[in-house]
Symmetry: C2
Subunit: 374 residues, 2 copies
């Protein structure tokens, strides 16, 4: 319908893993891919020129945070989110559902939507499918997400079923509310850890003309084994001709597992959050290091010898260790940049492996790294 | 004597203002110039590639902070400060005198030196002229500072005189302690706001083979008029064939005043500190803005339309305003970078003005900006 504005192209399969691309009016991104998280229209500690340098193709912003500050009207009047935050490439916005449902105690749920109080000034706000889509279209993002309810990963069957029925109604209303052709709208499957509910969600949502399908409700408190169980059957049942996005996940190991099961797109705060606290991802068996560990105090090695980001190209572990010990903000800046570079480089290696038909070897190598299971 | 390692060249005078250059084994810097302050071997929020991009030619580190953490031994074993912090250009180190004397209550002064307790772990340390030079040579800086006592700018004559006599003895001992030919050693004049003491300091210090002369004890609590009074007679009496460095000063207006009186080199935490708190220097009559002011919330203008740093080239005032309101670290990063770019651009304009014999016009323009006197 609106293929002139956005379109997913499946290029190649390697087992269940998929190589593809998604085009928007702000350019295309290759899949599988990872979106650095710019919740409030800024990826913490990393400016947009650096994001480009390390190979970022698409970023994510959050409806909930931006509606509260600076407000979608200001951003719309400014000419949209791309102009406001000076990122020329594709931008996806989360619908705010996940954030609102984590505001326990200061929200009131009805069939219509959710009333909640701002964490900034206590003022009353309302989010519904219609309102969320209105905000996302005002932001002018390339990809909007349907408004859903995200249940806790430890809920019982009946509660998850009830929540899923609300979500399915809301997603349909999200689609009906959509007006802007340039913005793609992705559905979100819920259903917790229950296979029949997940299958039901796909059946219902795939009847509707969504432009992509996201998997929600994972990495929300459940055991890792449960998430991997859902990944083993769920993504492959999503429509083949649409992009598949696993929301808010995860570690490099999780990403490799999901790609192995046919997922195309990811986002997670982990690389920047870990970077701010001194954890750095490294290639090889080690998987990650804590730069604050005294073992690095005199090390002339780069954080990761296989990385060519500014942190690894220019600085030593000893210097970055010193920055963290001394409380210098350059430490978090450098490791946030490096960790994102690590993730984006992993996605590039994944795409190259699928392209050459060798993804299973990469998958098998990653699975062998024992540290992931600690 | 050690001219093959470092040398000041006076290129041109324009009134009392001087155009020159100073060469070191890590390259030359033009004068007048400004040194971004990297107290703990990091300029807060600005990595070294960005420092280069905005035209930084020399940076400053601090003996006191680095002796406590990570310790000069670690840096020496690493191959010196340039290698440790990955800055290829010239580096000057402060001697630690200023910092130690601001540790009121946890220091003990003797003729030999100063005993003090670490603010990090309470451990006992000792700084003397000999020890300070030993540390600075271990760091391997291009320019070391003599160890001095910096009296409060509001002290009476007799106290300043007493302090100056200690300082002159310590500076002589600093020179005697110096062994490394590659490191230039600068004297520091003290004497508070008293003309005869300042003159006496110059007489005594200029008898000794220092490689440069710094003016200490200004911007330490005295009135602005008192500082400008000292600047009106003091710099011009320093040796013509040596570089002149005004320590810890100051606003752009202060710098222009000092250049007008024959000063060549500056350092100050002001641009980065102001940037962290949302103050941005701008060209034109406005002088500076507070980006957090609501007037900037919807402004599509760059912070400074005459600046081509990353903050001004890529982002709007509205976006940077949002970053500060949202508590995003990218705000301080961008404004710290911009303010340093503003200072370095001012120094470049000053050098060009001296070179073309038009410095007085620049000086007069800057003096007219009323906001400096608020």
């Amino acid at each position: 319908m609106s293929e002139k504005f956005h379109k997913y192209t499946l290029i190649k399969n390697d087992g269940k893993a998929r190589l593809g691309s998604f085009s928007t009016i702000h350019g295309s991104f290759d899949t599988p891919n990872f979106m650095p998280v710019g919740t409030k229209a800024s990826v913490k500690g990393v400016d947009h020129e650096r994001l480009k340098e390390i190979g970022t193709q698409i970023t994510l912003v959050n409806t909930y945070h931006l509606m509260l500050r600076p407000g979608e009207k200001l951003i719309k009047d400014f000419g949209g989110i791309h102009k406001f935050c000076s990122w020329e490439g594709p931008i996806l916005s989360d619908s705010g559902g996940f954030q609102v449902f984590s505001l326990k105690g200061i929200r009131k749920l009805s069939k219509e939507g959710v009333e909640f109080r701002s964490v900034i000034d206590g003022s009353k706000h309302f989010l519904s499918p219609e309102r969320s889509i209105e905000i996302q279209e005002a932001l002018g993002v390339d990809i909007a997400m349907a408004f859903d309810e995200c249940p806790d990963g430890r809920l019982e069957y009946d509660d998850v079923k009830k929540s899923l029925d609300i979500t399915l109604g809301w997603e349909k209303r999200s689609l009906e509310a959509k007006q802007r052709e340039e913005t793609a709208l992705f559905a979100i499957t819920q259903g917790g850890m229950f296979k029949d509910l997940r299958t039901y969600a796909i059946e219902e949502l795939s009847k509707l003309p969504f432009d992509g399908f996201a998997i929600g409700g994972l990495s929300v408190g459940e055991e890792k084994e449960q998430m991997y169980d859902v990944l083993s059957y769920h993504p492959q049942d999503l429509p083949q001709d649409k992009i598949r996005y696993l929301m808010g996940v995860g570690t490099p190991r999780d990403i490799v597992e999901a790609v192995h099961n046919g997922v195309d797109l990811f986002d997670c705060v982990m690389p920047t959050r870990a970077g701010r606290f001194g954890r750095a991802y490294v290639s090889g068996e080690e998987v990650f290091i804590n730069i604050k560990n005294s073992a690095h105090a005199t090390s002339n090695e780069p954080v990761d010898k296989n990385c060519d980001c500014i942190a690894c190209k220019r600085y030593s572990r000893a210097y970055i260790h010193h920055l963290f010990k001394a409380g210098e903000m350059l430490g978090p800046i450098l490791l946030s940049t490096h960790n994102l570079a690590y993730y984006l480089n992993l996605m590039k290696r994944i795409r190259e492996a699928i392209n050459s038909g060798s993804f299973e070897a990469l998958y098998s190598d990653e699975c062998k790294k024992a540290k992931w299971y600690k």
